[in-house]
C-alpha cells in the first residue's frame, strides 16, 4: 500500500502534465505532444489511485473500466467527423454525469459526508453536474436532430429558471443542515436536471457553439467541486483548468456574435427597428445562375475565397469542395478559405470538417485576417453560410444583427452563393448580399452543386 503523501505527490506530477498538455493544445505545432502529455498525466493519476488503501475490492472498477474504455474507443474511432459536435456534447454530459454520481456516492458514504465543507461541495457538485448532464443531453438531441434544432419557446423562461435556481439553493442549504434526509438530495437532483433542460431547450442551432463551450466549462467546474468533497488536489486543479478553457471559448464565441452570454442563454435578440421585408430586398434583383456560367467565371479567376457554413456540414460537401479547390489550384488559381468563428455548430467546426478533407490548415484563414483580402479576390464562393456574411450587420444600424463581426464577402469582385433556397438564416433576416449586382445564386444541394461546378470547370479545359 502506498502512503497518502506519495499519492498526492504523483497527483502533483499529473497536474503539471495536464497544464503542459493544455498549453500544448493552444498551438498547432505542439498540439499532438500536448495531448500525449495530458493522457500520460491521466494514466499515472489513475494508476496511483488504484493503490489507495481505501480501495478494498476491484471487481466494480475493472468492469467499469472495461465497459467505459471499449465504449469510448468505439465512439472515438467510429464517429463521422460531421457528427463531431454531437460527440463533444455527449462527452461533456458524461463528465457532468460522472461528477453527479460521485457526489451521490459520497453522500451515501457515512465516512465521507461528515463535515459541512463536504456537504456543501456535494450539493454544489450535484447542482452543476445535473445541469451539465441534462443540458448536454438536450444539446446532443438538437445536434443529432432527435428534436428540432430551432429555439423551443418556454413561457416565462427567465422567471421559471430563476425559481428553479432559488429552489436548488434552498435545497442545498437544507441538505447541509439535515445530512440524513436523502429525499432532499433526490429533490435537488430533479430540480437541477429540469433546470439544465430548460436552459438549453430555448437555444437555437446557430447559438450552439456558445452552449457547447459553456457546457464544456461546466463539466470542468463539476470535476473541481467533486475534488472539494474529499480534498482531492488533482481533481481541483484539472477541473479548474478545464473550467477556464471552456470559459475562454465561451467568451470568444459570444464576441464573434456580438452578444452577451445572458442574451444567448435567454434567447434575447436585439430589437429590430423595422421589420425587413424579404420580398422588398430580393424582388427582381436575385440572379440565378448555372454551373456552366460560374465555371466560366472561375476559369479566369486568380484568387478564390471559399466561405463555408453549417450548410457545408449538412450537405457533407467538404470532400467535394476540396476537389473543386484541387482543380482550381491545378489551373493556377489561389484558393483560400474564410472561416467565421461561429460558423457551424461548435467552436472550430469548419476547421475540423475541412481538415478531414485534407485541406491544409494554412489555407484556413481567420476572419480578421481574411477580411482585408476580399477586395483583391475575383470570386468568393459562399457554401451554406448566411448570417455571418450579411452586410446588414455592418451597415444597417436598425438591424437586429448590427455590430456582429461578419466576413466581408460582398467586397469580392464576384460572389457565388451556393444555397438551397432564399430562406433566411438563424436570425430570420433577408440577406442583401444575395440581391447585389455582382452576386450569382447557384441553387441546389451544396454537394451536388459543387460537384457539377467542378465537372464544368474540368470540361472547360
Amino acid at each position: 500500500m502506498m502512503s497518502t503523501s506519495i499519492i498526492y505527490l504523483v497527483y502533483l506530477v499529473a497536474a503539471v502534465l495536464f497544464i503542459l498538455g493544455i498549453k500544448g493544445l493552444t498551438k498547432p505545432r505542439t498540439a499532438v505532444k500536448g495531448n500525449r502529455l495530458s493522457s500520460l498525466g491521466m494514466l499515472i493519476a489513475v494508476v496511483v489511485t488504484l493503490f489507495d488503501q481505501s480501495i478494498l475490492s476491484y471487481q466494480w472498477i475493472i468492469a467499469g473500466i472495461i465497459i467505459g474504455g471499449a465504449t469510448g474507443a468505439t465512439l472515438a474511432s467510429k464517429i463521422q467527423v460531421t457528427s463531431m459536435p454531437q460527440l463533444v456534447a455527449m462527452l461533456n454530459g458524461f463528465g457532468g454525469g460522472a461528477s453527479l454520481l460521485i457526489a451521490l456516492a459520497n453522500f451515501l458514504d457515512p465516512q465521507s459526508a461528515t463535515h459541512t465543507i463536504a456537504l456543501i461541495s456535494i450539493a454544489v457538485t450535484i447542482l452543476i453536474g445535473s445541469v451539465t448532464l441534462s443540458g448536454s443531453f438536450v444539446a446532443f438531441a438538437k445536434l443529432q436532430e432527435l428534436i428540432s434544432g430551432n429555439p423551443i419557446a418556454i413561457p416565462a423562461n427567465k422567471l421559471l429558471n430563476g425559481i428553479l435556481f432559488v429552489a436548488a439553493i434552498v435545497l442545498s442549504i437544507m441538505i447541509v443542515n439535515n445530512p440524513n434526509d436523502t429525499v432532499l438530495v433526490y429533490l435537488l437532483v430533479a430540480v437541477a436536471l429540469v433546470l439544465g433542460l430548460l436552459l438549453v431547450l430555448p437555444i437555437g442551432g446557430a447559438d450552439m457553439p456558445v452552449v457547447i463551450a459553456l457546457l464544456n466549462s461546466y463539466s470542468g467546474i463539476a470535476a473541481a467541486t467533486t475534488g472539494f468533497i474529499t480534498g482531492n488536489t488533482v481533481l481541483i486543479v484539472s477541473g479548474a483548468l478545464v473550467g477556464a478553457s471552456g470559459l475562454i471559448l465561451t467568451q470568444i464565441m459570444c464576441k464573434a456574435m456580438n452578444r452577451s452570454l445572458f442574451n444567448v442563454l435567454f434567447g434575447v435578440m436585439a430589437e429590430g427597428g423595422e421589420t425587413i421585408d424579404a420580398d422588398e430586398v430580393y424582388a427582381g434583383k436575385v440572379k440565378s445562375s448555372s454551373a456552366e456560367e460560374i465555371a466560366m467565371m472561375l476559369e479566369t479567376a486568380e484568387r478564390v475565397i471559399i466561405v463555408p457554413g453549417y450548410g457545408l456540414a449538412m450537405a457533407q460537401a467538404q470532400h467535394a469542395v476540396r476537389d473543386l479547390a484541387n482543380v482550381l489550384e491545378g489551373r493556377g488559381t489561389q484558393v483560400l478559405y474564410g472561416i467565421h468563428p461561429v460558423a457551424g455548430r461548435m467552436p472550430g467546426h469548419m476547421n475540423v470538417l475541412l481538415a478531414e478533407a485534407e485541406v491544409p490548415y494554412e489555407q484556413l484563414i481567420e476572419m480578421d485576417e481574411i477580411n482585408p483580402q476580399f477586395e483583391q479576390t475575383d470570386v468568393a464562393i459562399v457554401i451554406g453560410a448566411n448570417d455571418v456574411t450579411n452586410p446588414m450587420a455592418r451597415e444597417d444600424k436598425g438591424s437586429p444583427i448590427y455590430g456582429m463581426p461578419i466576413l466581408n464577402v460582398d467586397k469580392a469582385r464576384s460572389v457565388v452563393i451556393v444555397k438551397r433556397s432564399l430562406s433566411p438564416g438563424f436570425a430570420g433576416l433577408p440577406n442583401p448580399l444575395f440581391a447585389m449586382d455582382h452576386t450569382l445564386m447557384l441553387f441546389g444541394d451544396g454537394k451536388k452543386a459543387i460537384v457539377e461546378l467542378t465537372q464544368s470547370l474540368k470540361e472547360a479545359d
Binding site: 495531448n35 465504449t71 460521485i102 458514504d109 470535476a223 488533482v234 477556464a244
Partner: protein, 91 residues
C-alpha cells in the same frame, strides 16, 4: 485538508488556465474542447475510490456507473482529439 488552501488552489488554477489559453487559434478550438474534456474525465479518480470503497453496495454501484461514464470521457476524449490532430498535421 484545509478548505482555504483548497480554495486558493482552485482560484489560482483558474487564473493559470486563463493565462495559458489566452489566444487559441480557431483551428484548434474543437481539439482543445475535446482534449480538455478528456482532462475533466479526471473525475475517474473520484469514481475509482467510490467503486472500490467498503461503504456498501449502493456506493459501489454509483461509483461503478461513474467509472463507466468517466472512462468513456477519458478514452473517447483523448482518442478523438488525437484523431482530429492527426488530420490537421498531414499536408
Amino acid at each position: 485538508m484545509d478548505i482555504l488552501l483548497l480554495l486558493t488552489l482552485f482560484v489560482v488554477a483558474i487564473f493559470l488556465g486563463v493565462e495559458i489559453i489566452t489566444k487559441v487559434p480557431p483551428t484548434l478550438h474543437t481539439p482543445l474542447m475535446s482534449g480538455s474534456n478528456a482532462i475533466s474525465g479526471i473525475t475517474l479518480v473520484g469514481a475509482l475510490l467510490s467503486a472500490g470503497s467498503g461503504a456498501g453496495m449502493w456506493v459501489n454501484v454509483l461509483g461503478f456507473i461513474a467509472v463507466v461514464l468517466a472512462t468513456i470521457n477519458v478514452v473517447g476524449g483523448y482518442m478523438v482529439t488525437n484523431r482530429m490532430l492527426a488530420m490537421f498535421k498531414r499536408k
